[in-house]
């Protein structure tokens, strides 16, 4: 138990420290790298809570794919952060109020759980007992069996969003020269090489 507690404090401290650095780092690329550090440490926290599948999914999906593309975009953009930071004090009250609201809501939820444990579902205990059903099996049962239609609908929503994004950015250019992969592969020496001048070996041009 001591070891678990130690690791909890380690991951929690690094997560909060990294999250703080995300908003204070001068270089946007460094900020994204700190964001990734925060993600990885939250995965560690998930792991400690016994949700090893969620932990690794967080790493595979968010860190391995989403954050890479994020980093990609930030590296390509020429963001002048000094300019962005200029209005920091003007926006501070609004941001502060939003932060306070979120904090208050979290405290209310956690507080009600402490005062009346029956009021909301126990967030620490997974619904099937962890010793009987493994993480992945429990999630699979819920997502693909009990709530399969909701899952399908969520997939449809994503599909619509994806098609929408493609429609918005797709421009057909009539004059563009397109690549014909089939024609490229079908080329052979007989059709691609042409003898321009009949040269005898050893004579030169």
């Amino acid at each position: 138990m001591i070891l678990t507690a130690l690791f909890f404090y380690l991951f929690a401290t690094v997560t909060i420290g990294a999250a703080f650095m995300v908003i204070t780092a001068r270089n946007p690329v460094h900020a994204v790298l700190f964001l990734i550090l925060a993600f990885v440490n939250s995965a560690g926290l998930f792991m400690l809570a016994g949700a090893e599948f969620l932990a690794l999914l967080l790493i595979v999906v968010y860190v391995g794919a989403v954050a890479v593309l994020f980093l990609f975009v930030v590296m390509m953009l020429d963001v002048d952060f000094a300019e962005l930071r200029a209005g920091f004090l003007d926006y501070l009250p609004v941001g502060g109020v939003i932060g306070l609201i979120v904090l208050a809501e979290l405290l209310i939820v956690l507080g009600s759980w402490v005062v009346a444990p029956g009021a909301i579902g126990d967030p620490v205990q997974p619904i099937p007992d962890m010793d009987k059903v493994s993480n992945i099996r429990a999630l699979g049962d819920l997502l693909y069996t009990r709530y399969v239609f909701f899952f399908q609908i969520a997939g449809m929503v994503l599909l619509v969003a994806m098609i929408g994004a493609i429609v918005l950015t797709l421009h057909h250019k009539d004059k563009a020269r397109r690549q014909n992969i089939g024609a490229q592969i079908a080329r052979n020496p007989a059709s691609a090489i042409e003898v321009v001048k009949d040269v005898k070996p050893g004579q030169g041009l």
Partner: protein
């Protein structure tokens, strides 16, 4: 007096418990990890020499033949050279990220080995979600390359980092689907169970005794091919070595690196090749299982079979580099998204359907 003795005794018991629960398992784990680390690094040294000899043989050259008998000491000479040279960090580089990049790469490449079983119960961490862990660690590997490329502040390195990011993210998708088909057949994410499930399969269903025909490579042959090719792309190996394309990007993301930091990047590539080969062996070639379950084959220890299979796959990796010319970038992307993704997606569907209809699902 009595009380004091009792207090001493409970303290002694606590200490004993602490040693039993933390110190001894911790020490065993550290010893196992060190042993594995040494084995992997020695294999890397062998790999450097073996690859150069293989390429030389294909090109009809001699290969390394100066340092030691038949040049076998060449990797160690290279190693010393890398260590003793002066490390140069470019003045305009982002210094901390520049140093962290290769460290991240090499740590992640070595970390994948923690869950790979080389024999029955010969594994440092026998976790339930082993294959997912490997997938997560290999998807993190891209950060080492991006950090190195960006921090170098050089256009060649940066172009390489961008190429690498796009390439690794693309091929991870098909690797993920290949892994899912294997998992569908096995019903577990534990690597040891994946190997053990290959004791019976396509061969035994035809009424043959357990043999190499039972391993997944036969039943899932298209996925085996896709996995092998995607593994080449994931490890930035030829014919997909665009991130370090010598002829256009000088040396890609490693161009500004020198000395021991370069050594780390060099090691990363080789350790990743070994790890990917090991995963291929575990997923498709039956891990430590002998090719035939009869007398002379079963006498050989499992680890020998594992190593034999591992080095066969590594040999294939080397031969590909010696024979196949480099892909163009658009061809690489086309292969990943328009060929491998549809095929592997279809195969996930087809495998699930077959398993469900025939009732073979675990």
């Amino acid at each position: 007096m009595q009380q004091n003795e009792q207090g001493f005794e409970t303290e002694y018991k606590l200490m004993d418990q602490f040693i039993d629960t933390y110190v001894i398992p911790g020490a065993i784990m550290i010893a196992q990890s060190l042993l594995l680390l040494v084995a992997v690094l020695v294999s890397t040294a062998i790999l450097i020499y073996a690859e150069r000899k293989i390429w030389a043989a294909v090109h009809m050259r001699r290969g390394p033949n100066v340092v030691g008998p038949w040049g076998v000491m060449q990797p160690f000479a290279d190693f010393l050279k890398f260590l003793l040279k002066e490390p140069v960090i470019p003045a305009s580089a982002s210094k901390i990220v520049f140093v962290i990049g290769p460290l991240v790469s090499v740590t992640l490449a070595l970390a994948a080995w923690a869950v790979i079983p080389v024999n029955q119960n010969w594994v440092v961490a026998d976790v339930n979600i082993g294959i997912l862990y490997i997938f997560a660690v290999s998807s993190l590997g891209v950060y080492g390359v991006i950090m190195a490329g960006w921090a170098s502040n050089s256009k060649y390195a940066f172009l390489a980092a961008l190429r690498s990011a796009a390439q690794m993210v693309s091929y991870e998708v098909s690797i993920g689907f290949v892994i899912i088909t294997v998992l569908l057949c096995v019903g577990s994410l534990n690597l040891t169970e994946i190997v053990l499930s290959q004791r019976d399969g396509a061969g035994t269903m035809l009424g043959l005794s357990p043999s190499f025909l039972d391993w997944h490579w036969l039943a899932l042959f298209p996925m085996f091919v896709i996995f092998f090719i995607s593994a080449l792309a994931e490890t930035n190996r030829a014919p997909f070595d665009l991130p370090e394309a010598e002829s256009e990007l000088v040396a890609g993301y490693t161009v500004e690196y020198s000395s021991s930091l370069f050594l780390l990047q060099f090691l990363t590539e080789l350790v990743a090749v070994l790890a990917m080969s090991a995963i291929t062996v575990v997923l498709f070639l039956g891990g430590w299982l002998p090719p035939l379950q009869i007398a002379p084959f079963t006498w050989v220890p499992g680890v020998v079979w594992f190593l034999a299979k591992l080095w066969s796959v590594v040999f294939m990796f080397s031969m590909v580099k010696a024979i196949v010319p480099r892909y163009r970038y658009d061809q690489l992307m086309r292969l990943g998204w328009k060929v491998f993704l549809p095929i592997s997606l279809f195969m996930v569907f087809a495998t699930a359907l077959v398993l469900q209809l025939t009732g073979w699902a675990a």
